[in-house]
Subunit: 304 residues, 2 copies
DNA sequence: CTGTTAGCGCTTTCAG
DNA sequence: CTGAAAGCGCTAACAG
């Protein structure tokens, strides 16, 4: 082919808006430059923040991201995992359910790069990026105790399954209380479904000796708590101090501004994405099965 | 191949966790069962609500969604469009920029199914799904006038480019004021960058004859307004009434609860997705170039 | 260095 | 009805 022929072809290519067929390339090269992300529940602020961070990292490297929302349903999760595998994604970041332990083990055996965020699965050695939950609870309790509270309640969402953040935050809460010489009382600690939070709260706060401070385990719980507080016209922090995990969009403009234990969600997402990309590029170059814990940040505002 | 051979193979297939290679299938069938979505700015509540609705519709039909955030940058938008075309997506939903008019025209010529959300481009005849913005502004003005206000200010974000919602909402505001016999004053109407909103607000509210009510054009504007109001300790609605477009997550728990013009974002996303899917299945079966306007809902709360 | 060719894994077509 | 073969558009390997 002559030089001028080539030039003409390139001209036509430009004019016709020709695009390389990446599907064909992917088939040949056995990589799609696409990763899959499966979040447990897209309604959490944390999920959206992590997703955004992952997308930012990936877009810089021209990697596509397909996001799926498992909606806290292991069956959906499995369906998405298999669909993404069938789509030949180069790697997977998930907020895993222990119900799919076998599937995850198989993925590991196949060598598909895999990273966990927010949750762990026992016996599945995957690099995992999540909050230091026990420490986060400790920070909360410590702050409240410093503010003079002894009767501290904790409330959070529950799923029937044992989910890492919930378990660890409650455990951390109990440990922290004990460390401060306070015996945690079970009727001050509630892990219930979102729809029952307000009911449990009403029970807890109308008990004989109600807590003077409340620790909300995540943002969805916080919304319910604030809703209840508004309904009952409870004065924060005078009648009840409030602290929560997850930095919601309105924490600095709410009245009162909300004292918050913020998760470094962007950082978690970034590092998870970087780890996955490294593993995709050269699997042998990265250690597997490490757990990366991120410290929470206490943002002192006016609700405590 | 004998029956038992087939059975054995299917057994092994199951055991090995074999997955059809959808990349190969896509190459052969010339469809990927994937659509692309490009939002102008992921930070808007509206964008995330639309995305979620699109994903819900698509997941039900086993269609994948790749979401891209153009970050209000036409160059990024173009890059994503071309990348998604190269990936052979079956269709595209975008919040378009008029800077890419030529590219969109080419896409139309190629016959790639395309749907617009939130914005229009002149001379590009694509099915478009968006709020009836003029009516939304009318609802806001009408409500405030009914509450006894005459001096009404409007503030919203601006981009240097003329973006459909901003233009239409401001036009609608002016028209509505006139219809109520009020001459809209330019110094009460501001379209500025997010970072300058608080400054403009301070100018507007400290003027000789400040407005008694304020209309915030979208959620990002609202956040700035609330931030300013908190800082200056302005009493809502006693000193200033406040209404805004976009139903933010905390509107019902804020103090005061926020009177809001809600966009039917889920409905917009759903219908956009359904239209795109119909067009993908049989392009000739759908009319092109229609503009579908959605009515806003006034949710009366306590900020007005 | 340029140009041809085989083959990625699937589906579709065609022959047996 | 079953089974073989061609070909989707690309890239990597190889031949000239």
């Amino acid at each position: 082919m002559g030089i001028d022929t080539r030039e003409k072809i390139e001209e036509v290519i430009e004019k016709l808006g020709y695009q390389t067929n990446l599907v064909a390339r992917s088939l040949k090269q056995k990589r799609t430059s696409t990763i899959g992300v499966i979040v447990a529940n897209i309604l959490h602020t944390f999920s959206t923040q992590v997703i955004r961070a992952i997308e930012d990292v990936c877009n810089e490297q021209n990697i596509n991201v397909i996001v799926c929302n498992a909606d806290d349903d292991p069956v959906k999760e499995k369906k998405y995992i298999n669909m993404l595998r069938a789509k030949q994604v180069d790697g997977l970041i998930t907020f895993p359910t222990d119900k799919n332990e076998k599937l995850y083990k198989q993925i590991l055996k196949e060598g598909l790069p895999l990273v966990f965020v927010d949750r762990l699965i026992k016996d599945v050695l995957v690099n995992s990026f999540l909050l230091d939950n026990e420490n986060a609870s400790y920070i909360a309790v410590n702050h409240l105790v410093e503010k003079g509270h002894q009767k501290i309640g904790m409330i959070t969402t529950s799923l029937l399954r044992s989910v890492t953040p919930r378990v660890e935050r409650i455990e951390g809460f109990k440990t922290a209380m004990k460390r401060h010489g306070i015996t945690p009382q079970d009727n001050y600690i509630k892990g219930v479904e979102v729809t029952h939070i307000q009911f449990e709260l009403s029970k807890m706060l109308s008990s004989e000796d109600p807590p003077t401070a409340l620790f909300a385990g995540n943002d969805l719980t916080l919304m319910e708590v604030l809703s209840y507080i508004k309904k009952k016209n409870i004065k924060i922090p005078d009648e009840l101090s409030l602290i929560n995990i997850d930095d919601v969009s309105f924490s600095h403009i709410y009245d009162p501004t909300l004292t918050t234990i913020a998760q470094p969600a962007s950082e978690i997402g970034q590092e998870a994405a970087n780890m996955l990309i490294k593993e995709i590029k050269d699997s042998s170059s990265v250690e597997k099965g490490n757990i990366y814990r991120f410290k929470a940040n206490l943002i002192k505002r006016s609700s405590t």
